[in-house]
Amino acid sequence: MGRRNGLEVDRRACVSRCKKLSLGKAAMSGSLCWLRAASLLRGAPLRWGARPLSQAAAGDGSSPGGGEGGRGSRESVEQLVRAHPVVVFMKGNPAQPLCGFSNAVVQILRLHGVQDFQAYDVLQDPDLRQGIKNYSNWPTIPQVYLNGEFVGGCDILLQMHQNGDLVEELKKLGIRSALLDAEKDQDKK
């Protein structure tokens, strides 16, 4: 029960953070609003594949970033990128993002009902932080990968959310966006 309460608190915090996010008027004037999203979240199971990277980074932490065979090497980054259909490299973890842009990515995925994704906290691992930037030739975090393919950062994911592309991209992965069901519910009423 304690755990349940913990999750409830976490969800509430998410929703309030989600509101604070101010993802822009365009997001609100679209086919959804944050309120509906909040009700959606309440019914959704909380599960994500955030593996504590501190475990992976528990070594001496002195190996050079991007070096051959290191945690930031192209090969090891590639493995992480392909570990799951939906992968996010972020600051902090999904339960506690440590950057507004990373938080926005997590909230957008949640809006679409994507709870099961693999998240890596780059703040725990400087090698990975540099390695992922080299891998995608993209200078900033967060970074989102769908089916191993680099999609973009927060701005691009937000735009894909707003213009409907994200629903389509998720469909290609066999993931049905929760927003579609939310719209259907709305139509029934």
Binding site: L23, G24, A27, C99, D155
Partner: protein
């Protein structure tokens, strides 16, 4: 063009400074912002350009130039998917991103898209991640731009 001496005499007080820098004295105060503006203007010939220094929204000292948002409407983006547009901007601002700039939010539209929709998404607030970030010191170290 009036000689600058005459201009100075004609103006009793220094010209008021605007929200973001254009040229002249502001170059000294906001070198990163000015550099971003100049490079984007030159490379993209934008119909519309906004450069916002959003550093004050984040856990960095006052007056920092670490977090920026750019809104660009340019014909150069026509026919390019979003990812390519962003890559183009990242390339143009490569030196800034490798140096002092920690975060860059990009809104890249064609002139037509800009005419249709001139809304600019707000940037999310800070969640304090850079407070304990070792990279922060490097970015705030005031590395000069080439």
């Amino acid at each position: 063009m009036l000689p600058s001496r005459l201009l100075r005499q004609a103006l009793p007080r220094p010209a008021p400074s605007f929200g973001y820098s254009t040229a002249g004295p502001a170059m000294e105060e906001k070198p990163v912002e000015s550099s971003i503006r100049a490079k984007l203007l030159q490379a993209l010939q934008p119909l519309h350009l906004e450069v916002h220094n959003e550093s004050s929204m984040h856990a960095v000292p006052r007056g920092s130039e670490t977090h920026f948002k750019v809104v660009i409407a340019s014909q150069r983006f026509a026919g390019l998917p979003l990812l390519r547009r962003h890559r183009l901007v990242n390339e143009i601002l490569q030196a800034e991103l490798a140096g002092p700039v920690h975060a860059l939010s990009i809104q890249a539209k064609t002139p037509q898209q800009w005419e249709e929709n001139q809304s600019v998404s707000q940037s999310p607030g800070c969640l304090g991640g850079s407070k304990h970030d070792p990279h922060r010191a490097t970015k705030l170290g005031g590395q000069g731009l080439g």
